[in-house]
């Protein structure tokens, strides 16, 4: 806990860190508190379609007269939840595969690396596209398929880390002493891999947020009646002639969310891994 406080202090000690934290808190507050100050996001009011922002609806209404503040807020929450899920799952699975490859070495390592290379040969958006087209939609499927796209990044990082650890003398010594490999992994590899993986995960969070939004915008992500920032931008874009509010609001929230997450992620990296802070 004290480490977390220390990290927070460090993050707050620089401008980008403060900005990132502020944006992130603002977005989280918006996602969590929005529904408290606005009507039910699913109540229709056909007579009040495309209402401009006003007292009844702080951010106006959409094509069915639903409150946009509530909808954007709920959509933000859903988008963030998905992104966090995807990042967490892919970083955990990626780390495990990477560590196994790094520890095992030999043909296992070569095979895993080859698969990672091959997956990386696909532009991510196109790969996700093809997977979703083939294997269907739905939130769970969506999370699973996008996870597949992001696993190799984490896997590569974990593998590289595991390779360096493998040659360290104290680990070799334990291996000689016939300590169970699982014990070694848990005792030494996991803690050592965790740092860079957390950094990579936090750097990837905004990427995944934008990724999900693009997929949802194109109709391959979140399916109605659920909505995320991507679907909100799309819905607004469809009726751009009546009202440009919905699109711009959702787009702005999306931009702030990704900017905030990036600034925070970079600050976190500088705290956890100061060596790499210079170059990208």
């Amino acid at each position: 806990m004290s480490e977390a406080i220390w990290a927070l202090k460090r993050i707050c000690s620089e401008r980008d860190g403060r900005l990132g934290l502020a944006f992130t808190i603002a977005i989280l507050a918006f996602a969590l508190l929005g529904p408290l100050v606005s009507p039910d996001p699913n109540v229709l009011d056909i007579k009040a379609r495309f209402a401009a922002p006003g007292v009844a609806h702080l951010l106006g209404t959409d094509n069915l007269g639903r409150d946009l503040l509530a909808r954007t807020s709920v959509g933000t929450r859903y988008a963030l939840t998905l992104a966090v899920l995807i990042v967490v799952i892919s970083s955990v699975i990626g780390s495990l595969i990477g560590i196994v490859a790094g520890v095992a070495g030999g043909w296992v390592d070569r095979a895993v690396t080859a698969v990672f290379d091959i997956v990386n040969a696909f532009p991510p958006l196109i790969l996700a596209f093809a997977l979703i087209a083939l294997y269907g939609k739905g939130s769970a499927t969506f999370v699973f398929l996008v996870t597949v796209v992001f696993i190799p990044q984490f896997g590569r990082m974990a593998r590289a880390r595991a390779r360096t650890l493998r040659n360290l003398s104290f680990i070799e010594a334990e291996r000689m002493l016939a300590v169970h490999p699982v014990t070694i992994v848990v005792r030494h590899y996991l803690p050592n891999v965790a740092g860079p993986i957390i950094v990579l995960a936090s750097m990837n969070l905004p990427v995944v947020i934008a990724f999900e939004a693009s997929l949802s915008f194109l109709g391959f992500g979140v399916q109605p009646p659920k909505s995320s920032l991507g679907t909100l931008i799309k819905d607004g874009f469809v009726s751009i002639n009546q009202s440009w509010w919905p699109t711009i609001t959702a787009a702005l929230v999306l931009a702030v969310a990704t900017l905030g997450a990036t600034l925070l992620g970079e600050a976190l990296r500088r705290v956890i891994d100061p060596k790499s802070a210079g170059a990208r």
Binding site: L44, K47, L64, N241, A255
Partner: protein
């Protein structure tokens, strides 16, 4: 906000400014030949294997048919034919005009070409494969050549539909036998005709150019030297392009009507549709098999709110299958205005509560809006609706392999043709597992459909089709929403022309106002 300002300043400074001097693009004032928008690209130019209306429209203007639809009407006069003589209900003699030349040096049209073109619908293409539109000529039994320019059509049974949806339409296009045989597979991308226009250029996904055919011998000379069709998939985008004066004509969606009315130098064209969109109820599925449940749903759904919310109030409500203007329109069909109390009473009579159904629809904005209104409406009578929105590929795949058996409520948009039999065929028992997603099976309806096909007398047909719609109404398997409405914006100097469905455009009759 600061960030945004930065980006704009940056943009203005680095790239946008550099472009500005050239930013005077394509202005309408300078145009004498129209540029119009189409939402679908050319897929296949073989008349019998065409994919959609875009090719149909091009084919009708590039090829000759024996008889051609008059401007904006469903009546026809001779085009390639000099004379058509009716021998009996099932026999017709035709004589072609001499000297009608196919473009590309493929020579003069003869009765052989007519036989060749029509036989493809009977026998299939060069590999014997059935043409996609073979059913348009279902009633045609044979074509016989009796002279260089003369021949005889024999029908299987009397048919009003053959002329309306077969011979007059793109399926009736007369191809050059020589060209088709020489071109082989290229017939999909090359259209050789003898009609008022030629397809001068086609850049897939971008545009095509139709030009007047100087060698056309028939009575319907094209008015424009050139018509450029831009392929713009979304009406929203083409409407914006129109506003930016990049286009002279485009279809647009109902919800932009107010914007359209406010545009300068613009005519708004509004053509009531003949298509039909409805909520189909699967009469075999679980609690929906109970007539009272279906009635309750019909009373609970607020069609007027759907028209307002999903169609911006810019379309009129449908009461029945066949649209006003079509033969067999049931003008006195009952209107079911929302009555929550009645719906609740029916549900309690049926002894059903806590019902949950899936509402399947396409994933376009209008369908989703309809779905969400239905969801809200039915929630008020205690029925939970889960929306299942599908992309078009998956959705239309429900029309095969009995995939429709698990549907419950389905929003279905169908397009119509001018003969009522084309519409009623999808509700036949033989279509269960294919396109009859209501899975309603009525031998009486099927019998009437066959009668309607073989009857020529208009009044009798009228009676038959109204009777069929009454049966549909009693089945409570369909909740009619709208026949659609086609909206176009059109630069005042241009006068477009369509058949009465608003979907089939007659490029050859487009003219200066």
């Amino acid at each position: 906000m600061r960030m945004k300002l930065d980006r704009r300043t940056f943009l203005a400074g680095s790239s946008a400014l550099a472009i500005l001097p050239y930013a005077r693009f394509a202005f309408a004032a300078a145009r004498t030949n129209p540029i119009i928008a189409l939402d679908t690209d050319i897929g296949n130019l073989d008349p019998g294997n065409r994919v959609g209306t875009t090719e149909g429209n091009i084919i009708r203007s590039v090829c000759q048919t024996l008889v051609r639809f008059e401007p904006g009407k469903l009546t026809w006069t001779n085009d390639a034919a000099k004379e058509i003589k009716q021998i009996s209900d099932t026999e017709f003699d035709f004589e072609l005009n001499p000297g009608q030349m196919f473009t590309g040096g493929y020579g003069e049209m003869t009765a052989d070409d007519v036989k060749f073109s029509f036989d493809r619908y009977i026998n299939g293409d060069k590999n014997g494969k059935k043409l996609t539109y073979a059913d348009d000529m279902e009633a045609l039994k044979s074509v016989e050549v009796t002279g260089k320019y003369t021949g005889k059509l024999t029908l299987k049974h009397p048919s009003a539909a053959l002329w309306l949806i077969g011979i007059c339409d793109a399926s009736g296009a007369i191809l050059s036998k020589k060209a088709t045989e020489e071109l082989g597979d290229k017939i999909a991308t090359t259209l050789i005709g003898s009609g008022p226009m030629v397809l001068r250029e086609w850049r897939p996904k971008e545009q095509f150019v139709l030009a007047a055919n100087p060698d056309y011998k028939g009575p319907y000379k094209a008015h424009f030297e050139e018509i450029t069709g831009k392929i713009i998939p979304e009406h929203k985008t083409s409407f914006l392009s129109y506003q930016a004066k990049e286009l002279d004509f485009t279809a647009f969606d109902a919800d932009q009507l107010d914007t359209a009315k406010g545009l300068a130098d613009t005519k708004v064209i509004d053509i009531p549709g003949i298509d039909y969109t409805w909520i189909g109820i699967n009469v075999e599925k679980g609690d929906l098999a109970d007539l009272k449940v279906r009635q309750a749903i019909r009373w609970a759904i607020d069609i007027d709110a759907i028209i307002q919310g999903a169609y911006s109030g810019a379309t009129s409500r449908a009461k029945t299958l066949l649209a006003p203007g079509l033969l067999g329109n049931w003008a006195d069909a009952p209107l079911y205005n929302r009555d929550v109390a009645k719906a609740q009473q029916l549900l309690s009579e049926a002894g059903k509560s806590n019902l949950t159904f899936t509402f399947t629809c396409l994933n376009d904005a209008t369908s989703l809006a309809v779905a969400q209104i239905v969801q809200a409406n039915l929630a008020e009578v205690g029925i939970t609706i889960n929306i299942n929105a599908m992309d078009s590929g998956a959705y239309w795949a429900l029309g095969a392999d009995n995939a429709s058996k698990d549907l419950e409520l389905t929003l279905i948009p169908y397009t119509s043709k001018f003969d009522p039999s084309f519409q009623t065929q999808w509700f036949l028992a033989s279509q269960i597992g294919l396109w009859n997603w209501q899975r309603w099976n009525s031998p009486e309806f099927d019998k009437l459909h066959q009668e309607g096909l073989e009857t020529l007398d208009k009044a009798k047909r009228e009676e038959i089709y109204i009777k069929m719609q009454k049966l549909l109404d009693e089945s409570v398997s369909c909740i009619w929403i709208t026949h659609g409405r086609n909206f176009f914006v059109d630069a005042t100097w241009l006068k477009p022309m369509f058949l009465p469905n608003g979907k089939d455009w007659q490029f050859e009759f487009f003219d200066k106002a």
